[in-house]
């Protein structure tokens, strides 16, 4: 049954028509990082920008997958469609991954208005995988109204999501850390919306209060977005409708005060830079020859400083990458 694979470009029309197999296959091609799919993905990109991209982030085990499931059900109840890209970590030792976000999303499966894709981080830092945004583009172009990105469980500093999502939801579980944790810089700062999950637990109120107090320390003018703190329980359904209303309200806020264009531009910038960085790494890894070895040797022997070597390296790689 070995046959020549279908060229990626032949999937584009089917993606735009919302056909699952085509969307899924192009995601795999983009994830594999082949150059073959790039013209197809370039065409897809021209059809994006319509979906509301919502990032959901938080520490491991704080309830992101359960929240994604509950929010997706609420969105579906209103008749809108949802794409989900759920990122889980790859093993740093073997490169393999167990992607378990679907375990908690079982109730969503079988609904044609929901497309869930699990993705391994493959060593990318920052909470996303390299191909996450390609997957988001495909879901956007396929016509999904809202695309939810569930990041890997993050620590305090993995904040890539804020550069790519229109709306960022930070999930905190009750009982983790005191109020000093809440005024530290990092993940908590990037929230457009705070969610305190597992609100059915007795200590959830304390976390809500701490987050609200943290937010009151920040200065803002009357017109700026007021970050809400919403207590939710995927178990009882508490707060889910309120959260969805807040997500929609944030999108409206962005489009009325002009920040949406700013965010989209910031996302375009971050993405372009990231790809440039990846291209440099890939071409360097592929080329590693005597000349680059000699360059690294010079740095290692203190004959050349790393800055000058990096500039020389860029000069060499430049012609290859752009050709």
């Amino acid at each position: 049954m070995v046959s020549d694979p279908t060229p990626s470009c032949e999937f584009v029309a089917d993606v735009l028509a919302g056909r699952t197999r085509a969307v899924a296959r192009l995601m795999t091609r983009a994830e594999a990082g082949t150059d073959e799919c790039r013209p197809a993905m370039a065409e897809i990109y021209r059809h994006t920008g319509r979906a509301h991209v919502v990032g959901i982030t938080g520490v491991p085990g704080c309830g992101k997958s359960s929240l994604v499931t509950a929010v997706t059900q609420a969105i579906r109840a209103e008749g809108r469609t949802v794409g989900v890209v759920a990122v889980d970590p790859s093993s740093p030792f073997t490169g393999g991954a167990i992607l378990g976000d679907r375990i908690r999303m079982g109730d969503l499966v079988g609904d044609p208005g929901v497309f869930i894709r699990s993705m391994a981080s493959r060593g990318a830092l920052g909470g996303l995988a390299r191909a996450t945004l390609d997957a988001v583009d495909l879901l956007d172009a396929a016509g999904f109204d809202i695309v939810l990105i569930e990041t890997v469980g993050v620590g305090q500093d993995e904040v890539d999501i804020v550069r790519v999502a229109d709306t960022t939801v930070v999930v905190s579980a009750p009982g983790l850390g005191d109020d000093i944790q809440a005024i530290k810089a990092g993940v908590l700062e990037i929230a457009d919306l705070h969610v305190v999950s597992k609100a059915d637990r007795p200590d959830a109120n304390k976390t809500v209060t701490e987050l609200k107090q943290m937010l009151m320390l920040g200065l803002r003018d009357a017109a700026s977005w007021r970050v809400p703190v919403i207590a939710t329980s995927a178990e009882t359904g508490e707060g889910i409708a309120e959260l969805l209303a807040a997500i929609d309200k944030h999108r409206t806020h962005l489009s009325t005060d002009g920040n949406l264009a700013d965010r989209k531009r910031r996302s375009a910038e971050a993405r372009t830079l990231k790809i440039a960085e990846d291209l440099v790494r890939r071409h360097y890894a592929a080329r590693r020859d005597a000349a680059t070895d000699a360059l690294i040797d010079q740095v290692s022997n203190r004959k050349l400083d790393p800055h000058s070597a990096a500039r020389q390296l860029l000069g060499t790689l430049n012609s290859e990458i752009t050709s």
Partner: protein
């Protein structure tokens, strides 16, 4: 369509009223340690859910673990749904405890391989790799 990042994707599922998932978790772990991306769906899935998830995830392999004795009902249903979804390029593997004569029949229906309870982990990994390679790029 190969590249350094071209990983084998496997969806591992428990279907029906079968709550024993220790074995399937070990299998998932072995495949992960062999560098594959393994999507685990959890317990009590329906054939419908498994096939629809496999299509969205664009996996190379569906692995269904069955210890309940319902294999002669569940596998034909999965195969039928895969056909309906135009997803016959996905390899279907079964694992668990089944009589030898059922294994013969299941393979005739289109299950690529049945790995019984005494299969060593290394052989599971080797079988998945071999079958994906034989199928070729898609």
């Amino acid at each position: 369509m190969t590249s350094e990042d071209d990983k084998i994707r496997v969806l591992i599922a428990k279907v029906g009223l079968d709550g024993h998932d220790r074995g399937v978790k070990i299998v998932a772990r072995c495949l992960r340690d062999a560098g594959m991306d393994v999507i685990y769906t959890g317990l009590h899935r329906t054939p419908d859910e498994v096939v629809s998830a496999a299509v969205q995830e664009d996996v190379d392999v569906i692995g269904i673990s069955l210890l309940s004795g319902a294999h002669m009902t569940i596998f034909p249903r999965v195969i039928e749904l895969m056909r309906d979804a135009d997803a016959e390029d996905i390899l279907l593997l079964g694992g668990g405890v089944m009589p030898d004569e059922d294994v013969v029949e299941l393979k005739a229906m289109g299950v690529a391989e049945i790995l019984l309870q005494d299969t060593p982990p290394a052989e599971i990994v080797a079988t998945v790799k071999r079958l994906v390679e034989e199928r070729g790029p898609r």
